[in-house]
């Protein structure tokens, strides 16, 4: 047992750090460090910079053009990006659909889709959830009817994160109503510029439009965009969900935000109030414990000796921590977190923020926004079901 990273791992970290410092645009990092709103071009701009370096596809094996990193290297890369204030990599392309295409797509599909994902040129969206189908994914109703060499798609997806920017979309669609709900699902890639696709942004409680409804009205999808076999999509979907949980703990980001929380507490005068400070201390313990849990998973992956089936724990604890730091930031500012001035959440705003501290502007919105973390990606209730299943049978 050894807590230290190997010299090779440490020099890898140094390499990443140096590169990120040199290549991450300062204005973008500023926005991330202050929770200011990111534009499409902030997100895609950074994706393309990573893509050029070959690091947007950081989780891919070498054979598909990825760097072929170990689990520890991926962790270190993500940690350095997070601490430097890089935007979260939008996962739908490189992290979610790409592994499915690699595992189940044909050579033609791999050649056609993977390069655009790896370069950051093509923005992918996710078509999983539907209005009646949230935690219960197998109940998807969006129909895809095979007519000749096309599928005709009708139905509706929802909670499509950043779908308003999407070029392509991967979808779970129903191609059969026979047998168990799971057996009639197919995995379809769909050009969002196809006729019949309508995207309607959903305004969330923090005032931002981060998710969308996507409607399909007789959308024609070439049959060649079917991944794998018809009616086997549920298998691929599960494969994808297992990848979605990579870094689900998001502990690196929480470490960065803990530092920010401390800065806010100092600025707002509660750092020296024991009662408030203790709350930060409790969070600090939570974050260290979560980081150790993540490191244990990495070590198990690295050695292959012990498997640690605790993705559910990472999701639950990671999301609770995100909610808690945002809550404490808001409570630290107290009354001065209450003004809702949308423009003040944009970089470069020159107005007078109440109390004079514009850095307080996004605190409540972030708190509101992060309520999603215990709902999406498999709600924490579903995660507890899964954990209980592994423990109790």
């Amino acid at each position: 047992m050894d807590l230290a990273f190997t010299p090779e791992e440490q020099s890898f970290r140094e390499e990443v750090r140096t590169w990120v410092q040199a290549n991450l645009p300062k204005d973008i990092a500023h926005k991330v460090h202050h929770a200011l709103r990111l534009t499409r071009s902030d997100m895609q701009g950074w994706a393309k910079i990573l893509g050029k370096k070959g690091w947007l596809a950081f989780g891919w094996p070498k054979e598909f053009g990825g760097p072929g990193w170990t689990a520890v290297q991926k962790h270190l890369f993500e940690e350095e990006c997070a601490l430097a204030g890089a935007p979260r990599i939008v996962p739908f392309g490189p992290v979610m659909v790409a592994p499915v295409i690699m595992a189940f797509g044909n050579a033609e599909q791999q050649k056609r889709f993977l390069p655009g994902i790896a370069s950051g040129e093509v923005w992918w969206s996710q078509g999983y959830s539907e209005p009646g189908s949230g935690s219960d994914l197998a109940s998807v109703k969006t129909r895809a009817e095979r007519v000749g060499n096309k599928y005709i798609v009708n139905g509706q997806k929802t909670w499509t994160t950043l779908g308003q920017y999407g070029d392509w979309m991967f979808n779970l669609v129903r191609t059969s109503t026979e047998g168990k709900p799971q057996t009639g699902i197919s995995f379809l890639l769909l050009d969002m510029k196809s006729p019949g696709v309508t995207v309607r942004p959903i305004k969330l409680l923090d005032g931002e439009c981060e998710v969308n409804e996507v409607f399909f009205d007789n959308v024609e999808v070439p049959a060649e965009n079917l991944v794998g076999e018809e009616n086997k999509g549920w298998t691929y979907a599960k494969h994808l969900l297992s990848h979605e949980r990579t870094n689900i703990a998001d502990v690196n980001r929480s470490k960065r935000e803990l530092e920010r929380l401390k800065r806010i507490a100092k600025r707002e005068g509660v750092w020296d109030e024991q009662r408030f400070r203790d709350q930060i201390a409790l969070l600090e313990v939570d974050i260290v414990a979560l980081e150790m849990l993540v490191l244990r998973v990495l070590s198990a992956e690295k050695s292959g000796k012990n498997s640690l089936d605790i993705a559910g724990l990472l999701k639950i604890k990671g999301s609770e921590i995100q909610q808690r730091y945002s809550e404490l930031m808001m409570l630290a500012a107290g009354p001065f977190a209450l003004p809702f001035i949308e423009e003040a959440m944009q970089a470069g705003w020159q107005g007078d923020f109440p109390g004079g501290e514009v850095a307080n502007a996004p605190l409540a919105s972030t708190y509101f926004n992060l309520r999603k973390t215990t709902i999406y990606g498999g709600s924490n209730e579903v995660q507890r079901n899964i954990v209980a299943q592994t423990v109790l049978g």
Binding site: S129, G132, G134, S135, D136, S139, T158, W159, I202, K203, L204, L205, G207, V211, E268, G269, V270, R275, F276, Q279, M330, L331, G334, P335, F336, A337, L338, P339, F340, I341, D352, P354, G355, G356, A364, S365, Y367, F368, N369, R371, K372, T374, I375, Y376, S379, N380, E381, R384
Partner: protein
């Protein structure tokens, strides 16, 4: 010992609830938020219902009612998340009645009662957080009355109000003043807050001020305690509705072929929401019933109540969102607005940790409702 409402109180509740249900729909509220978070016409309707006059003495054209009537009204306004800051009418009325010289009372109380004048407490300063005794505002004697130098933050409807109650330093202690918005040197910059209501930064630059009392801290404490009791009642209304919304949704939303109301883990969460709601309601009663107690006892009671309400509001708000899933975080759905309202209320008049400190500092050997 009797917690029944009188027939008059029941009628009051019915009248306010009718108005909220029919006159202050979610659509109207949404329009008011979009227009800036305050609607003078809606405030006028509150006045027509007699609410602005509720605690103004009859001698000043008010109804001379007490804290329980306020509680009943605020609960109902909470159910509809009414944006207009009626609580400040009760604050102004109680402070002016107990502390202001007769002529000041005669000048303002009838206008508060009629809804003609909206008078709000302008107390928050940047460095004070929730501490009432921290006050940088300064007053000095001037030709007629006093001149005020101050910056006050997050003043409810601060650019719409007609006058402010303003604490400021005078001769080494905090005094309380009344300042008209139309007075020279007063400028207000308004904005919407997280719950959709309106507030403003208000600057007082040599603004002419009328002294209410030199015993300003005591008066300010009464003002805030009046606000806390009203807020507790309002929060009960908000939570009552939040629980009802959650129950409705859970009995309708299906996953895995059954309503989500059938999942035991979620059912227990609802039981805990109900627990928090009923503890909160109990402490709201307690706050209103203790509002007329001697200052020390009153302050302790308000701190206790706010600790319970703060915990309840956080739990009920967060669980409401969680039990709704995705729909709970959308702007379109009414529930998310209840959550934001509860969040803002926890941070109004002192948050949970602040009041926990008050309770902790004020503990005696014995404790209970009557101690």
């Amino acid at each position: 010992m009797d917690f029944d409402f009188s027939d008059d109180q029941q009628s009051l509740r019915d009248a306010v609830r009718r108005w909220v249900d029919k006159g202050y729909t979610f659509e109207r509220r949404r329009g008011i938020v979009a227009a800036g978070g305050f609607d003078r016409a809606a405030y006028g309707e509150l006045a027509e219902l007699g609410l602005t006059a509720l605690t103004v003495p009859e001698a000043h054209d008010g109804l001379g009612q007490g804290a329980i009537d306020v509680m009943v009204a605020m609960e109902e306004l909470g159910r509809g998340m009414v944006l207009e800051p009626l609580a400040h009418a009760f604050i102004a009325s109680s402070v002016l009645t107990q502390y202001a010289p007769a002529e000041l009372q005669a000048a303002w109380l009838p206008r508060i009662a009629s809804g003609e004048a909206l008078v709000v407490l302008a107390q928050q300063e940047r460095k004070a957080r929730y501490a009432l005794q921290k006050c940088d505002a300064k007053a000095a004697p001037a030709q007629s009355g006093y001149a005020l130098e101050a910056t006050k933050s997050i003043v409810p409807a601060g650019d719409q109000a007609d006058a402010y109650l303003v604490p400021a330093q005078l001769d080494g202690q905090i005094a309380l003043f009344l300042v008209e918005r139309s007075a020279s040197g007063v400028s207000a910059q308004g904005y919407v807050t997280q719950d959709g209501s309106r507030a403003a930064e208000v600057q007082f630059a040599s603004a002419p001020a009328t002294l209410i009392t030199q015993d300003g801290l005591t008066a300010l404490e009464l003002a805030v305690d009046t606000g806390i009791a009203a807020l507790c009642a309002e929060a009960v209304g908000v939570m009552d509705k939040a629980v009802a919304l959650t129950v409705d949704y859970m009995n309708q939303r299906k996953q895995f072929g059954v309503t989500i109301a059938s999942f035991q883990a979620l059912r227990h969460r609802v039981a805990d929401m109900k627990m928090q709601l009923e503890l909160a309601r109990s402490m709201s009663y307690y706050a209103s019933l203790k509002l007329t107690a001697p200052a020390g006892e009153r302050r302790t009671a308000m701190a206790r109540a706010k600790v319970q309400l703060g915990q309840s509001m956080r739990y009920v708000g967060q669980q409401m969102v969680q039990l709704h899933g995705g729909i709970g975080v959308t702007d379109e759905y009414i529930g998310s607005h209840y959550f934001k309202k509860l969040t803002q209320m926890e941070m109004t008049f002192g948050d949970t940790l602040h009041h926990l400190g008050e309770v902790s500092n004020r503990m005696q050997d014995t404790a209970g409702v009557f101690a």
